[in-house]
């Protein structure tokens, strides 16, 4: 018999955490109070609930009292939830029937001088957890087998490096290259600094290594046409150029190493109109083929089509080095050549500064130009004249030139864009592939099992590209080496009877975890679901739910908090009751840090943990206000930092909409707010709460909190 069908029998275990909790919060009072709550069969306390003695108490009482739900009131679930869940499992209770209350970081540490209020708040939090626990359901965590083979897309130096790294670890690799030759961009370059080795030489070593790996299957002149499936089991359709029959392969992971291309600056500085106006890459090809006719006066223009005010706003990072490298090579080959580099800023970071110094020593001329007064190029009887306003000189100068080289940025190519939609992974505002998190997950996509490296991800040099290639190979090897992954059971589930087939969930999910059927029935792809709950919050009917964070579980906690908080009359002394939704990643972490660093804030706020601020449903907020909450604050990760890419942006949009809807309930829209904090911003979290409590105090009680005569 399913535990969820049995009458809930809840055990509440309250921890003193040595003095940490017990010094401020009256633990025995909490225990006594817990015993009065519905479905609570027993309540116990211990000096350290996480000690083996404490864990044994939990296990003993589970057996003795036939408990089927456990609530522990102690510290933060971020560190201790796994431990208590394990204890539950050892005593035969599914780990999803466990709920944790944080009365240390959220009570004793942040209200150190208000023991009465801290105890009152702890009681509220326990009551909320007990109410939610009554509705908890056991879950089974799905196991996924991971096929030990990878698809590497792109046969440039980056893709080859990733492929070699994986192959040498013993994994099967399918390396797909759209051209007939391996090598990509590096195959088109001339010499690399600082060694001045031929690029083709470096390339040759990698090509030989690739061909030496018997477990690398090369697919040349081939494009990826279709990708289905998920981590561990991707079904790939490859289409060879000039072949009618597509090829099907099956892999566990995918690495995107598709590179980038140089911007062709058509319509700028006479490019394409004059054969002596070329790009840096074209210069390298001319140098390589020794096609250059003894140049006398060369002008290089930097930041052509890059660092623009709108559009391509990014710095392409490599062009300063490329220009310096090529200028120095020119000087070496043609000692009499005069070279001017027209720049906005020379950005030779790190050791690349040596290039700049060397160029100065070699009498290369640097002219600082202004973005608002860019140089112009005129062609006079086949002679090129560059006119530029020199910032340092404070005047215009003219340079006769026989070769103009434009330094243009790397840009995403058309095939990259197509691949983005085939793989259903995002491109950033610059058009390059967009990683899951800029700092914490730099080579992962937010879809599991797909990784990115090299210039596909943004302009970078060979060294950085190869470092990323190794990183991506390493990331991809983790699930393949383990062979299976256990996924969280916190996933979307849909009630087919309640669903109306509007597909709001399908559109809201950025992980491709919900597929639309032709007549509207959503199908959940469990392996792709990350458990953010955005779909559940978007579903107009409440048909889509997030397991372990279902509406009925969240609403139960909200009602439990607010039902006993009614004011008997409007002149009763007013202490605001504020509900705070905190995402389990950043803002909950910020609240924890506020505790750890003993930031003191008013004890009026009750935190309800959700997986993502994007899970917070209009329904939850409506229930909070209808039940009398004086204020609701939704907190999430900083914008751009969401662990589910943009759940916090969706939450922000909803708050904007809800403000308008609240007016219809005669509720001041100022009573709802959204705030963002990273997990390192404990102080900010405290300030945010303090300010909001103050604001609500000034607004006064929610009119719906005051008991009517009929109540």
């Amino acid at each position: 018999m399913e535990t969820s069908e049995k009458e809930p029998r809840i055990g509440v275990f309250v921890c003193h955490c040595g003095f940490n909790i017990g010094r401020v919060v009256d633990v025995p009072e909490i225990v006594e109070y817990a015993r009065t709550l519905p479905n609570v069969v027993c309540a116990q306390e211990n000096l350290y609930m996480c000690s083996s003695a404490g864990l044994n108490i939990i296990k003993d009482f589970i057996r003795k009292c036939d408990l089927n739900r456990i609530v522990v009131a102690s510290c933060t679930p971020a560190t201790h939830e796994p431990l208590f869940r394990k204890a539950c499992e050892e005593a035969g209770i599914n780990k999803y029937l466990f709920e944790m209350v944080n009365i240390r970081e959220q009570c004793s540490w942040v209200h150190m001088d208000q023991p009465k209020e801290a105890t009152e708040k702890a009681k509220d939090l326990v009551r909320m957890a007990v109410a939610k626990a009554s509705y908890l359901e056991p879950q089974v965590e799905p196991e996924l087998k991971i096929k030990p083979s990878a698809l590497v897309i792109g046969g440039g130096i980056t893709g080859m490096t990733a492929a070699i790294s994986l192959a040498r670890q013993g994994f099967g690799v399918h390396l797909v290259e759209k051209e007939a030759e391996l090598g990509g961009m590096l195959g088109r370059l001339y010499k690399l600094r600082p060694t001045e080795r031929d690029a083709s030489e470096i390339l040759r070593e990698s090509v030989i290594a690739v061909k030496a790996c018997s477990n690398i299957h090369l697919h040349m002149s081939t494009l990826v046409e279709e990708v289905k499936g998920f981590i561990g089991n991707f079904d790939i359709t490859l289409q060879g150029k000039g072949s009618n029959e597509p090829e099907h392969i099956n892999v566990g992971t995918i690495i995107v190493a598709t590179g980038a291309e140089e911007l062709k600056p058509v319509g700028m500085y006479g490019y394409m109109e004059n054969e002596n106006v070329i790009t840096q890459l074209e210069l390298e090809q001319r140098l390589k083929k020794v096609e250059l006719k003894n140049p006398k006066r060369v002008v290089m223009i930097q930041c052509v089509g890059a660092r623009e005010k709108t559009g391509r706003t990014y710095c392409s990072r490599i062009c300063c080095m490329v220009a310096l490298n090529n200028a120095l090579l020119l000087k070496k080959m043609y000692p009499n050549v005069e070279i001017s580099i027209l720049y906005r800023d020379i950005q030779t970071y790190g050791e690349y500064e040596d290039f700049y110094r060397e160029a100065r020593e070699n009498f290369i001329d640097f002219i600082h130009y202004d973005q608002d007064k860019p140089p112009t190029v005129n062609s006079n009887d086949g002679k090129l004249v560059v006119t530029v306003y020199d910032i340092n000189l404070g005047g215009e100068i003219e340079i006769d030139s026989d070769l103009i080289v434009l330094s243009t940025p790397l840009v995403q190519h058309e095939d990259g864009r197509k691949l983005s939609s085939i793989l259903k992974v995002p491109l950033g505002p610059d058009g390059f592939f967009f990683e899951a998190h800029p700092k914490l997950r730099p080579v992962d996509f937010s879809s599991d099992g797909i990784y990115v490296c090299g210039t596909a991800h943004g302009p970078k040099d060979v060294t950085e590209s190869l470092a990323q290639a190794c990183a991506a190979a390493s990331r991809a090897s983790i699930p393949m080496a383990v062979g299976e992954i256990k996924a969280t059971a916190v996933k979307a589930s849909v009630d087919k009877e309640m669903c109306v087939g509007c597909d709001a969930c399908v559109i809201s999910c950025i992980f491709n975890a919900i597929e639309a059927s032709p007549f509207g029935q959503p199908n959940i792809v469990d392996a792709n679901c990350k458990g953010c709950g955005v779909c559940a919050a978007e579903c107009p009917m409440g048909a889509m739910q997030l397991k372990h964070f279902k509406d009925k579980q969240i609403v139960a906690a909200i009602e439990a908090l607010l039902k006993p908080k009614k004011l008997t009359s409007s002149d009763e002394r007013f202490e605001p009751i504020i509900l705070c939704f905190a995402c389990q990643w950043c803002s909950y972490g910020a609240a924890d840090l506020a505790g750890v660093t003993r930031i003191q804030y008013p004890p009026n706020v009750r935190i309800l943990r959700v997986p993502c601020s994007g899970r917070v449903d209009v329904l939850h907020v409506a229930e909070a206000f209808l039940n009398g909450a004086d204020g609701v604050i939704i907190t999430g990760c900083l914008i751009g930092d969401c662990h589910y890419t943009d759940g916090n942006v969706k939450a922000k949009d909803r708050v904007y909409v809800m403000k308008k809807s609240l007016s219809a309930l005669a509720i001041n829209p100022e009573r709802i707010e959204i705030g963002f904090a990273s997990s390192s911003e404990g102080q900010k979290f405290g300030t945010m709460i303090t300010d909001f409590v103050e604001k609500i105090r000034n607004i006064g009680p929610n009119p719906l909190r005051v008991k009517k005569r009929s109540d």
């Binding site: 087939g501 709001a504 029935q521 107009p540 209009v618 005669a666």
Partner: protein, 275 residues
Amino acid sequence: MYKIVTKKELVPHINLFEFSTKEIAEKSKPGQFVILRINDEGERIPLTIAGADIKKGTITVVCHEVGKTTKQLASLNEEDCIQDLVGPLGKPAEIKKFGVVLCVGGGVMVAPLHFQAEAFHKADNRVIGIIGARTETQLIFENEMREVCDELYVATDDGTKGYKGVDFLKDLIKERKIDRVICVGPIIMMKTVSEFTRPYGIPTIVNLIPIMVDGMGMCGACRVTVSGKTMFACVDGPDFDGHKVDFEELTVRLKMYAPQEKAAFVFYGKDRRSL
């Protein structure tokens, strides 16, 4: 004010309404739509006309409860009135003898499809009907469609009735000589069917009802991209060439106000008067 003459629950949450409106009934053609507003503060919603009875002076619409306004509409009963009814709007479907016409409809839109299928039938076409729903208990207008179709196929997403999904159409389209395809229903269905017919070059007409406000080509809310050009579904459509419609954009545009719609739905009936 427009009176509800008939209200009938076809399946849970899908209701058929007949509104008394002689003027609109006389002019309504298959493929056209009306915009209604329940009361002074109401939202304007477009509904495709599913039938017109000139003698009775009524038009028929079938409406699925998917949000605040549709739920409010479903709460009305026979003899109740709605504030406004504007129509018929949009261009009528092109009805003439094409030969073999495949009529594909899904969900609540099977009802307006029936209006078209009936007209094609009368125009001497061989009509092959395909109707579907998410699940068996949501299927509507099966008997009505059977009367006007020479052949009728039923499909559901979960396979509880007839074929599972629409993949069976691939073979049907490949094997049979079909002169025209009419497709009315969820966007994903219209898109899928359009992709099935594209290789064979069969003219495929889709009926689009995006978010609309005035329905007369003024506001631009209903714009859709067809062959790279911006069109207004209300006056340039609602029928368009399914091979040329940008369905991805349409999908995203349809959900632009999803948070507002949800808020309206959750707060519906919870305004201060009811507290």
